[in-house]
């Protein structure tokens, strides 16, 4: 792009810093990487683009010695190498900054930089350590406060410490996994400036991202992974964001239209059942995790929510199910403002919730199947009467749910964790569907299920829609989203980028929106 002059010329005959040949890495039942060839040249910022689960992180873990490849070779400066550990990789000049920082929170910046560094003096005073840190920080152009405790630093500052840790060990290839996910725009600009300076010294950077804008801005070349294979490598200058989006998500997709209603289905309601008005939420660090989100849910309609995980979907479910209160804005249920976040009140009002992590938040793994199935109805007859808990009625309820979910259970007194993940998910879904008279919020209900179970799960959603319930279906799988949703909202950085009609949209538009590009025509939300 415009900053091409920063790129130092490469002498003819210089080998690539890193060359991968036919890398393959397999986990039980999963091909994480297969036949991956990749070249990274000195003075290059190379972007790795791909959906969740495309194999980007695995590939980089292979390069940095965290995993050993089953196939292929790693060639560094023209010599074949293999790394048994990240320590060996960093000694060879390959350093990685992970998405989740690996710093000791209670230590100072200087201590973190010197930790496990074989060039650090054996005996060293805090003052000397801080001076050395200051020198390193100036040399590489990443300002840090050497005496500050890591726990007190912002995400951007912590990232700079991570980068300095790597650079101080003389890394020539810096790998960054989703570096901007935790940064403010200003911090992102600073990071990019520093990365360009690093590149200008003849070093190389591999940056993992699914944000198209950033890839366009910072990278010289971009490689796209899909299903563990490298699909293509382009000069970024020749690319357009939409072309990258298509290559990234494009695949043979079966658009089974599950949007068509069978005869006798409830029509879409005229007035919204539930709505959000300018809802903003803050996370623990005070960063906005939901930004000014407004939306309406109509009975008899499925609203899909697309987006890369961690862009506000979790907070959206919390607000919609009464698990958390918005910092500002309102939650409306049947036109009335829900003043207090009270999950039990939401459930009584007919809001069901299939949460993202069923074992952690929807089930008590050590309790019996019966107890777990009663979780939503223990307070109402026949299970709960005058403060009592009727275990026989609870047992009947559990049997009912299991029958509808077609899960075969030999013993309802056994702990629910003994069931397979798919069966747990079916039971939770059916338990929630029982109480979802008005709304069902389903977060990643198909995650981790096999194809048959996914079809069943999607069938549950359309069945509920046909009964006139408003369904929110949060997923990363665009195929599923396009198949069942009537409208699709796209989340990016806590913002609802757009709500589009599923019938007139395509993967490319959604992919662009997921990457933060406002490329698609905004279809008016709530227009029926």
């Amino acid at each position: 792009m415009a900053d091409a002059p920063d790129r130092p010329p490469v002498a003819p005959g210089t080998p690539p810093i890193l060359q991968l040949r036919g890398i393959g890495k397999f986990f039980p039942g999963v091909i994480a990487n297969k036949d991956v060839d990749l070249e990274v040249w000195p003075g290059e910022i190379h972007a790795l683009l791909g959906e969740n689960g495309a194999g980007k992180s695995t590939l980089m873990n292979v390069v940095t010695g965290i995993y050993q490849p089953e196939e292929g070779e790693i060639i560094l400066d023209g010599y074949g190498r293999s790394f048994a550990s990240p320590q060996e990789a960093i000694r060879a000049g390959i350093g990685m900054v992970h998405q989740h920082f690996k710093l000791v929170q209670a230590f100072s910046v200087a201590e973190n930089i010197h930790l496990g560094w074989d060039e650090a003096p054996r005996r060293i005073s805090a003052r000397v350590m801080e001076e050395r840190t200051r020198a390193i920080s100036e040399r590489f152009g990443f300002p840090v406060r050497p005496d500050a405790r890591v726990a007190d630093l912002s995400a951007g500052e912590q990232q700079r410490v991570e980068i300095l840790r790597v650079l101080s060990r003389r890394a020539r290839l810096l790998i960054m996994d989703e570096p901007t996910a935790v940064l403010t725009p200003e911090e992102t600009r600073e990071l990019f400036r520093a990365l360009r300076a690093f590149r200008a010294q003849g070093n190389a950077v591999i940056i993992i991202s699914h944000k198209l804008d950033e890839v366009m801005e910072i990278s010289d070349r971009v490689s796209i992974l899909r299903h563990g294979r490298r699909i293509a490598t382009f000069d970024t200058g020749d690319c357009t964001p939409s072309m990258l989006a298509t290559t990234m998500v494009g695949r043979e997709i079966v658009r089974r239209n599950m949007r068509a209603r069978p005869p006798g289905a409830q029509p879409v309601s005229a007035t919204p059942v539930m709505g959000l008005r300018n809802v903003t939420m803050l996370d623990a660090r005070g960063v906005e995790s939901l930004r000014d989100v407004s939306l309406d849910l109509y009975g008899g309609e499925i609203l899909g929510i697309a987006g890369v995980a961690g862009n506000g979907q979790r907070e959206l479910t919390q607000v919609l199910t009464g698990l958390a209160a918005p910092a500002t804005g309102q939650v409306l249920l049947d036109g009335a403002v829900m003043a207090r976040p009270d999950p039990a009140a939401f459930a009584r009002a007919g809001v069901g919730h299939v949460p993202e992590d069923r074992l952690r938040s929807a089930l008590a793994p050590s309790l019996s199947i019966t107890d777990n199935m009663a979780l939503r109805e223990y307070a109402i007859p026949p299970v709960g009467r005058r403060g009592l808990y009727d275990s026989r009625a609870a047992d009947m309820l559990a049997r009912d749910i299991a029958r509808v979910a077609t899960v075969d259970i030999p013993d309802f007194a056994m702990p629910v964790r003994n069931l397979s993940g798919g069966n747990q998910q079916r039971l939770v879904a059916r338990r929630e569907i029982r109480i979802a008279h008005r709304v069902l919020i389903a977060a990643y209900p198909a995650r981790g299920l096999d194809i048959g179970a996914i079809a069943t799960m999607l069938g549950y959603l359309t069945e509920l829609r046909d009964q006139g319930v408003a369904v929110v279906f949060i997923s990363e799988d665009l195929e599923d989203l396009l198949n069942v949703s009537d409208r699709i909202g796209v989340m990016f950085h806590g913002r609802l980028m757009a709500v589009v009609d599923a019938a007139d949209t395509d993967m490319e538009t959604i992919g662009l929106l997921m990457g933060g590009r406002d490329g698609a025509p905004m279809s008016a939300r709530g227009e029926q």
Binding site: G322, D342, A364, D371, L388, Y389, N423
Partner: protein, 354 residues
Amino acid sequence: MSRQAAFQRMPSVPARRILIWRAGAIACALLVTAAILALSGYSPPDLALLVARSTVGSRFGMEDLALFMSPLLLTGAAVTVCNRIGLWNIGAEGQFYAGAIGAAAIGLFVPAPALVLLPLMAAAGIVAGMGWIAIPTLARAYAGVNEIITTLLLNFVASLLTYYLTTGPWRDHVTGAQVSSARLPVSIPEIWGIVHWGFPIGLLIVAVLAAVMAHTRWGYEIRVGGANPDAARYAGIPVRARIIVVMLLSGGLAGLAGMFELAGTVHRLQGGMANNFGYLGIVVAVLARGSCLDVIPAALLMAFILDAGIVLQTQQLTASVVLAITGLMLFMIAIADELAHYRPVARMKKETAP
């Protein structure tokens, strides 16, 4: 082809399996004990006969067992209810002392007929036990402070406070008994020999707790809150409020145990009167595996061990030998509980998940 046998850990074990393994463990512990005693020149059969005769084999032994059981039932229940919501009350010992002190304060200084005084003392014991756990409770519920540490440390405070009172302001001026207050004017009436009403009341309380835990909404909420607080919040259960009530209940039970021991068995406030009943309550709760009803057999076993220990001490066995035997038995039971989870499976057969 050889069928390769392997062991697989079952996530849950039926109660009957546990029972069988535990019986084996106790038998093992007794055999090892017998072997050691035989090596040290004792005659194990004679000792066994003696122990049997002085515990389950005689009226007097049975009374002793019941007397030991009374405080263990309540301290065991105290630890168990707390366990139901996923917390450990290690401070039953301290709450026991606090209950005894509170009850003694009423008994020693409030002049009233026994019919009024005893219920008043019981109430004071319960309130004092609750008061003793109040700070750990609030720290846990509002600041997430680990209740294991706070309840444990308060035990020493309560114990020392008892020593202070019994050697200082409340010491017995009449008979000059050491580390002891004056004799209380009232005592819990006996129901059977030396066994006082604290024993049937303790049984009743445990039974009521078991029913509450199993058959009320509140008990269900406690169960869910203890098994997975996130799931409880998801279902809208006010976990914090439940934690506060359960911990106070736990402290109250241990406090009542202190009152019973004071007014039923010891009849004075004495330094060291808790006799480790608070700590043994933890053992009882572990043996009962979180079930209120199982506190009863667990307390019986513990009472038997304590009683047998005293009998053995009369036969010139030192207290540490008795302690070692107790430890051995509990150790074996712990191993048995774990081993009960394993089941041999043939490698060839593929287990299919239900």
